[in-house]
């Protein structure tokens, strides 16, 4: 039993109790208990979230913002209540700043498209880092194909960190946006986004944070951070797939043109002209992913009830424990040794390809991710084709880390 006392000393963080909330954690894989350590790819869902989806389709389903009938009012209320939950969760100043999207990738594409059309002109520059997920590289390259903008990249050090001085050197009068990952999905690095935002704002440059790996591990307060945009995925914070959020400062969102055109994002349409709806609907064309948006609100409720401080403490202990155990094996090299890390442990084993590691561990019931993690430039930076990545969530235990390490030892023995 792993019992950790939460910071406030009132709630007891009981991982065994939490595990019971997640039905999938009791299944077996190849005859072994599932040891799910692929949480950076997607997290498992608590029963309350699964039940909410069933409840929605069983007793609430109707299109929102349209009908005057009972069900439409019910689903509209649940949908908008979820937006308020997310607004509170991120501490945004208004629900008008919370836009439902398909996920982080969609959110970044929204900004790239709208900011690209509305604010960028030939010769402008944007800054990203060397540890971006492809989803914060490719959308900008698409913009760069239409407008002659330049993408500048902050280099990363051997430990997997960025140097703020190097970042500041890239800023010039042509820089129009800084778009950086908060927590690296392949290295686990927690970037100094507070400093990045301060430096960027000194030069009046807005900052977009890719928060896909951040909101489920860190206390994220968009007003305190003062970020201009924040993108996140629902399925990485115990919610359903296909739903995500773009937070944006109201003033900035009002200045941008719409992303897509269609229903819900208009207030008046004639064949000659259209008046767009107000925020956040201006950016939500077409029928939204209503059920998943509502269930994301349930996931946020579940997450908040346990509390980010207790969760972060527990995950931090797991990361430290796993790092210590794996570093103890001379054949293993950890990729990403930043001073501040969160829940992601990437490693390579001497002379054993990560895909062989992945297949071996699968037979121990252990699910990890192997490959380039959609960060090929990071792999090139370390001159490796791929890594094995274990990533932790609130329901993981030290016993599971032991199973992972046992599996790694086994494969080292077989490949000797």
């Amino acid at each position: 039993m792993n019992k950790v006392i939460a910071n406030n000393d009132v709630n007891v963080f009981d991982v065994e109790k939490i595990r019971l909330d997640f039905p999938i954690l009791s299944i077996k894989v190849h005859g072994k208990p599932l040891c799910y350590l692929d949480n950076a790819a997607t997290t498992q869902k608590p029963k309350v979230v699964i039940d909410k989806l069933v409840e929605y389709y069983t007793s609430m389903n109707a299109n929102i913002h349209r009908g005057v009938h009972y069900l439409s009012e019910l689903s509209t209320k649940a949908f908008e209540d979820s937006r308020i939950k997310i607004k509170n969760f991120l501490n945004a100043s208004s629900e008008r700043e919370i836009i439902f999207t398909k996920g982080t990738t969609d959110s970044i594409n929204l900004v790239a498209s709208s900011f690209g059309r509305g604010k960028l002109k030939d010769g402008d520059e944007i800054i990203i880092t060397g540890m971006e997920h492809h989803s914060n590289i490719v959308p900008w390259q698409l913009v760069a194909k239409e407008k002659k903008i330049k993408i500048r990249v902050v280099p990363i050090t051997d430990t997997g960190e960025i140097v703020l001085e190097e970042f500041e050197k890239l800023i010039n009068e042509k820089t129009k946006l800084v778009s950086v990952v908060y927590v690296s999905n392949s290295l686990g690095t927690v970037n100094p986004v507070e400093d990045i935002i301060k430096i960027a704002h000194k030069h009046n440059i807005p900052v977009l944070l890719d928060g896909a790996q951040a909101v489920q591990h860190l206390n994220v307060d968009v007003q305190k951070l003062d970020c201009d945009f924040l993108a996140l995925s629902g399925h990485k914070i115990y919610g359903p797939t296909g739903i995500g959020i773009l937070y944006g400062k109201e003033k900035l969102l009002n200045e941008l043109p719409p992303y897509q055109g269609g229903g819900d994002m208009i207030s008046k349409v004639t064949f000659e002209e259209t008046t767009f709806n107000s925020l956040p609907y201006k950016f939500e064309a077409g029928t939204s992913n209503i059920a998943d948006a509502i269930a994301l609100g349930t996931a946020i409720d579940y997450f908040s009830a346990i509390g980010i401080d207790a969760i972060a403490k527990h995950e931090g202990e797991l990361l430290d424990y796993a790092t210590e155990k794996l570093s103890g094996l001379k054949e293993v090299r950890i990729i990403g040794n930043a001073k501040r890390k969160s829940s992601v442990l990437s490693f390579v084993i001497e002379n054993i390809h990560p895909h062989d590691v992945g297949t071996f561990l699968d037979f121990e019931g252990v699910a990890i991710r192997t490959g380039h993690h959609c960060t090929q430039p990071v792999m090139d930076r370390y001159n490796i084709p791929a890594t094995s990545r274990a990533s932790f969530a609130m329901y993981n235990t030290k016993e599971e880390v032991d199973i992972l390490v046992g599996g790694v030892k086994k494969i080292i023995e077989v490949f000797k």
């Binding site: 895909h355 084709p385 077989v414």
Partner: protein, 152 residues
């Protein structure tokens, strides 16, 4: 080790992974091709010396998982001395083997050492690892200078 896993990682495969045969660059190669699996980053450069329609010499370089490396190593040993047509015929049978289409014991036996890849059929995600070297071979035989990708 689990039986299914042992079927996949047979001793011959582990051995060829550890000490791949013909792992070098042939300076006098007259047919070459590059193979790439974008999903896992496996890469292979294949070098052939073909004279009078016969593969006189073959070598490869690259990086990949045990399955892809052992497959390239065994392929290089087996096609040496074969005509282009013979090599192509072996590829067809090998492909049937790893995708589970070749089940006749006698036919599998005919593949000789390549039969160790039979276990791959239980791992659909690894079929591409086993067949990358062979797809690259076919490309080199045709002397297409393009990069072969498993995703095309």
């Amino acid at each position: 080790m689990d039986t299914e896993l042992r079927e996949l990682y047979q001793q011959v495969i582990l051995d060829h992974n550890k000490s791949p045969r013909n792992f070098k660059k042939l300076e006098n190669a007259n047919h070459t091709a590059e193979g790439y699996n974008p999903l896992c980053g496996d890469k292979i450069n294949l070098y052939l010396v073909i004279e009078d329609n016969v593969v006189k010499d073959v070598s490869f370089q690259g990086s990949g998982c045990a399955i892809s490396k052992a497959s390239a190593s065994l392929m290089s040993s087996i096609v040496k001395g074969k005509t282009k047509e013979e090599a192509e015929q072996i590829f067809v049978k090998f492909h049937d083997l790893v995708t589970g289409k070749l089940t006749d014991e006698a036919a599998i036996e005919e593949l000789g050492k390549l039969a160790v890849f039979a276990g791959v059929r239980d791992f659909p995600a690894r079929v591409k690892c086993a067949s990358l070297a062979w797809h690259t071979l076919i490309s080199a035989l045709k002397d297409e200078q393009n990069v072969v990708s498993t995703e095309e």
